[in-house]
């Protein structure tokens, strides 16, 4: 019985998301895209870099449902494989960025005083640099590649997370249950992570979810200018970049990757919206 009750808060949130029509559509779209990407080898009828030079620039047909690109590679197959990179990039970068943000933000919010001032002013400087510029800078310095791209993309998410969590902590810090925890002699670490963090984390989760969508677009943009994942790796943004020279002659080459990016980001944003409503403590009884 105890076990059942424990999961109820989580289960309740989930059921509330599911009852939100927008979020439901988002979840369905995302599940389809994600599972298609995961099971790409079973779904795609062609290999990742399988070239068919006789069939270059073929429009959508029964054989190649989304057509082929300039090297005769099946676009649909490449999109599915490419989704693995795009999604992984988006999720990793959003999670890494938020986790770093949460840690710095909780330290700033909980310690207060001088430490807080220094951290927050530093964050102000950090966020005053356009995040795209930072990304380009980091990618250019560290070089392209999956992990460097994750790093570059997550950097931009850090100050947002820091600000959110600090603001939340400031409003939560004066609550008596923290004093109560202190009065029974909980350690500072325990108060911070066991009592304070779970109570302030929901906006950050929502923000990180929304951030996945934004990060996927950013990743696409980075790849587009040649700093992200390198060809022939079929990342969605990189595919867009490949196709840009053919934009007038073969518009489907740019349409389909664009469509995938747009659909995924839309789905994630819908879920994020649903999540925000579901986690809003004011809606909880």
């Amino acid at each position: 019985m105890r076990k059942e009750k424990r999961s109820s808060l989580f289960a309740e949130t989930m059921s509330r998301i599911w009852s939100n029509p927008g979020a439901k559509v988002g979840i369905i779209i995302l599940v389809i895209i994600v599972s298609a990407c995961i099971f790409a080898p079973f779904i795609a009828s062609y290999g990742l870099n399988e070239m068919d030079l006789k069939n270059m620039f073929k429009g959508p047909s029964a054989k190649h449902i989304m057509g082929t690109d300039g090297m005769g590679r099946d676009l649909f197959s490449r999109l599915l494989y490419g989704g693995r990179y795009s999604l992984a990039l988006g999720i990793c970068a959003a999670v890494v960025g938020s986790v770093i943000g949460i840690i710095i933000g909780s330290v700033a919010g909980y310690l207060g005083g001088q430490a807080e001032t220094i951290i927050m002013r530093f964050m102000d400087i950090w966020s005053s640099l356009p995040s795209m510029l930072l990304c380009i800078l980091i990618s250019a310095v560290l070089g392209a590649g999956f992990f460097n791209t994750v790093l570059a993309l997550s950097i931009g998410n850090v100050p947002i997370g820091v600000r959110l969590i600090r603001g939340q902590i400031l409003s939560e810090r004066s609550k008596e249950y923290l004093e109560a925890a202190e009065s029974i002699n909980c350690s500072k670490i325990s108060i911070m992570f066991r009592h304070l963090l779970p109570n302030v984390i929901s906006p950050v989760i929502v923000d990180a979810t929304m951030g996945i969508g934004m990060t996927i677009t950013m990743a696409a943009a980075l790849s587009y200018i040649g700093l992200g994942v390198q060809p022939p790796t079929p990342e969605w943004g990189a595919m867009l970049a490949d196709a840009r020279t053919h934009i007038l002659n073969y518009p489907y080459l740019i349409m389909f990757p664009g469509l995938f990016i747009a659909l995924t980001v839309l789905a994630i944003n819908l879920i994020g919206d649903g999540l925000r409503d579901a986690m809003d403590p004011k809606l909880r009884k």
Binding site: R2, E176, S183, I184
Partner: protein, 329 residues
């Protein structure tokens, strides 16, 4: 000697709050003693320093802005302020526990109430998890909550029930001193009576001493043995409950009683004490109540007023009490 019975002794406690360049004198040389099993009520208006006194005893003053600048706190013959932190850990929550003012915020909204009680038990005892859970369930039953509700979250409880949980948390480790910071202020009158009864019963059962912070003289009448009236960070009158209610001596205490609505006389308006408490950043010389006192004389603002014993066990900080009153024992 009644030193054996004495469990808490506060000497010249001084606490200031600093905010920028302003220094707020929250507690000014407060001293009092408590015997085992006794209830002391700290009465006074908002901002008088009652809660600060309690938090200093427990050692949870928020620093900054609060700073303990002087005084001694003796608990069972041990001095708390100079005690090393490691040793103090055994005292916080185990020997001294606190009941907080607002049950709505005193519980972590994302932990089940049972877990919150268990947490304290695990920190201070060598219980295994199962034993602690069992004990926590016992505590819930003790405060009148069915133990099946161990797994519920605070939002599933009403205000009065939450306060019961808070009481269960405070009493879980059988503290010798309980600090109750306006435990009933956030509750309505019927629930208030229930909660007070509950505290009283449990306290008597475990022979726990209690400092009750309140501004409700009705609550004082119901629960306490001794009363200390706090004004601008000072204790201005200290007496047994009976003495204080029968012969309030300090003009401020008299004012407090006069401002209560009367059941018998058909009053149209209340008689408040005129004015408001002094600015704690610059307290007046001498008696800090002087600016509002109807009996004020020149002598009042000259020097620090001594805390004189005007009757056996009845102390008052006022220089205008008649001389014979001061000396007659």
């Amino acid at each position: 000697m009644n030193d054996e019975k004495k469990i808490l002794s506060v000497r010249d406690l001084e606490v200031v709050y600093t905010s920028g360049k302003k220094v707020v004198q929250a507690v000014n040389k407060v001293s009092f003693d408590m015997n085992k099993g006794e209830t002391l009520a700290l009465v006074g208006e908002t901002g008088a320093g009652k809660t600060t006194i309690a938090k200093s005893i427990l050692g949870i003053l928020p620093n900054p802005p609060a700073k303990l600048i002087g005084g001694e706190i003796w608990l069972e013959g041990e001095e708390l302020i100079s005690m090393p932190d490691a040793k103090k850990l055994k005292i916080k929550g185990e020997k001294i526990a606190m009941i907080f003012q607002d049950p709505m915020t005193a519980l972590n909204p994302l932990m089940t109430v049972g877990d919150q009680i268990t947490e304290g038990l695990l920190l201070h005892n060598d219980y295994t998890k199962e034993e602690a859970i069992e004990k926590a369930e016992e505590m819930l039953e003790l405060v009148g909550i069915p133990k099946a509700r161990y797994v519920e979250y605070p939002f599933e409880f009403s205000g009065g029930m939450k306060q019961r949980v808070v009481i269960a948390m405070a009493l879980a480790c059988n503290p010798i001193l309980l600090l109750a910071d306006e435990p009933t202020t956030a509750l309505d009158v019927t629930i208030q009576a229930q909660v007070l009864d509950l505290i009283k019963t449990l306290r008597v059962k475990h022979n726990t001493s209690m400092i009750l912070i309140t501004h409700d003289l009705g609550v004082v009448a119901e629960t306490s043995d001794n009363v200390a009236v706090v004004y601008a960070g000072k204790i201005i009158e200290y007496a047994t409950k009976k003495d204080l209610f029968l012969s309030p001596s300090h003009p401020y205490t008299i004012g407090l009683f006069n401002s209560l609505p009367s059941m018998t006389q058909g009053q149209k308006r209340l008689n408040p004490i005129i004015g408001s408490p002094p600015d704690p950043t610059c307290l007046p010389m001498g008696c800090s109540f002087a600016p509002r006192c109807p009996f004020v004389t020149e002598e009042c603002s000259k020097e620090e007023i001594p805390f004189a014993e005007i009757a056996e066990g009845h102390f008052c900080r006022c220089c205008n009490l008649k001389q014979e009153e001061k000396t007659c024992h």
